[in-house]
Symmetry: C2
Subunit: 187 residues, 2 copies
Amino acid sequence: MQATYQALCEHGYADLTIQRIGDEFAKSKSLLYHHYDGKDELLLEFLSVILDQFDDEVPEDAGDDPAAHLDALLDYGVTATVDEDRERLTRAMTDLRAQAAHDERYHDLFAQSDEALRDHVADVIRRGVESGAFADVDPEAVADFVLVAINGARIQRVAGGTEGGIAAARAEMADYVQSQLARDADE
Amino acid sequence: MQATYQALCEHGYADLTIQRIGDEFAKSKSLLYHHYDGKDELLLEFLSVILDQFDDEVPEDAGDDPAAHLDALLDYGVTATVDEDRERLTRAMTDLRAQAAHDERYHDLFAQSDEALRDHVADVIRRGVESGAFADVDPEAVADFVLVAINGARIQRVAGGTEGGIAAARAEMADYVQSQLARDADE
């Protein structure tokens, strides 16, 4: 997986070959060729591992404070500045996301990961609505909106966006949360 | 440009070669090779033309009604259903957007196009604030948020998203506009 990631970062999807993954592979190349027919088999396994890691990274429950939890989720998802390793990973994921526009196998993995993230956001909002911390919004609709913003920030971070633009969008989301979800907005 | 687009749609960026563009080119291949050194030269010219077309498509001023204009912009940018040709084009653009994560030349073209769209949205909001149609929001920040949502919807439309999810996000944006920008929200 490490060899796949290195080779993907170095060459990008378009110029990646199983030979180039093999070049990064410390063990014997023949072992690699024995197990995998082509670069997509390796990349799909890599993607599956990384998306699972992403799922594990999503901020978990912040005690009994749904507002703080949602805030942490937005900080995680709509972030303008990341360290170099993370930016490198975002570039690699952007390459694979583009493959999802052509190949069902990539599409299904991203769809599954997006849905898990979206459901996680919806759960937080639902708990907040039930506890009275949030106004009586539709948790599913808010979560769909948050997911769109997260995916927009992800692509802009590496492909065409500015740090200031994403930071301003994050601040504006805080205003949105305040006006739409904060309990006193509804009372 | 038509040959480049056909070849990009058929093969995707990764498997595209100037030979394959030549296969789609009704005139002589040697003419193509004479003018272009490689696929990126052709793709960058294609991208530049398409992004200009996108700029022309952005809904223009809806008379003196900034709220209706903003609504039209959101319908244009955060749309769940597009016709087959448009979906095909979005796939091709997603491929090229991924290249923007690796190649400055693609990056600059997308950055320029994103900024033009963002500035257009900011202008509409600024006019609405000045005329009193909108509350006293920061037009730049709202435009940054709208751009993130547009880019998120674009990628989800072809790579991992659902029609229902994007439609729900669009509806939630209408609520956001209503609560943040509608004049009576501030009075």
